[in-house]
Symmetry: C2
Subunit: 201 residues, 2 copies
């Protein structure tokens, strides 16, 4: 779910807007679910509803949260389109890439979770699947018998390189038509949020 769009325009005709579709098609190959493009911005509509009810101090926050939900959905879809043919998901791609960046090619699961900021069970899950595909190997930690190391395999390195190259070309060079400046604005705005949430320093 993504946008608290108001239903007051329920009876309005839905325009086709083929222009928007072509814009999207120019970037990512095939929209996973081709939502037919609403004739209005659902987030702006939701904000209007909030304002109409006098929830003024919550309008901007609501719009920010709702926008974030939809943005996540959009970029994740775009990424998945590229990675699925390689048998990867973004979660597993991140693990693989992070491992490929390390000097030794291995990290304890706990470190993986800390760097990627996900729950321990998510790491276990991702590593399990990567291991099942032969892209990483589980190893004992040399000095801590509680810990498990995930080590990237040669096959894993090859796939990581291919995946990175594909993502760089097809998604990261202008996600959904954003230029570099817009990307940087987005990153800056989100960095404030992440820092506020206690993510880093």
């Amino acid at each position: 779910m993504t946008a608290l769009a108001a239903a007051s325009l329920a009876g309005s005709a839905v325009a086709e807007t083929p222009a928007a579709q072509t814009t999207a098609a120019a970037k990512s190959a095939v929209p996973l679910t081709e939502t037919p493009a609403l004739p209005f911005d659902p987030v702006a509509e939701a904000a209007r509803q909030w304002r109409a009810r006098g929830w003024i101090e919550a309008v901007d926050g609501m719009a920010a949260v709702t926008s974030l939900m939809r943005a996540h959905q959009i970029v994740l879809s775009a990424v998945d389109v590229v990675l699925r043919p390689m048998g990867l998901t973004f979660a597993r791609f991140e693990v693989l890439t992070l491992l490929s960046f390390t000097r030794t090619g291995a990290l304890p699961l706990s470190k993986l979770g800390a760097r990627l900021q996900v729950h321990p069970t998510s790491v276990t899950n991702a590593v399990d699947r990567l291991a099942a595909d032969g892209l990483v190997r589980r190893e004992r930690h040399p000095s801590d018998r509680r810990a498990v190391l995930a080590r990237i395999t040669g096959e894993g390195r090859v796939l990581a390189a291919r995946a990175t190259q594909a993502l760089n070309a097809e998604v990261f060079s202008g996600p959904a038509g954003l230029d570099s400046a817009q990307c940087r604005e987005l990153v800056a705005a989100i960095a404030a949020l992440r820092r506020g949430a206690g993510d880093f320093s």
Copy 2:
């Protein structure tokens, strides 16, 4: 998974940074998974790695996508903390709120999906659970026998009002410490992305 943080700092000490924690605590009650706050920004680290490898044109896009993933995780957690005690999730909250905004209190599932921009199966799922809790009722569409209407119940309206009030107070009034201006910047940056993806006009 969220941040392609580099592992080259694997040996560095992890500072506690209680300041960041207090900031977060001031907003949302309890972080679901209290990640211990990295001593550096993992997104910035990933960007550094990208740059070091010469993937210049993809740096900003990668950072944007990675930031978005983590931001989604953060706000969803904050929202869930508030909604869980009421037996709601954000997905179901959105359905409920959208229905409460309609004149008649009912919408076909297809319209719900279009407004919230989610897959038809996600709508079915959400409405099923809401119906199981007595918050909406499924009805036949009067003129289209293929369609199903979801109608909000009295109980649903009460809960929607409570949930909205709680979210407005505890999350939407400055999510993760963002002020209104920062929220608006975020919304604007994401609006460009959503429009680029063909979401609306």
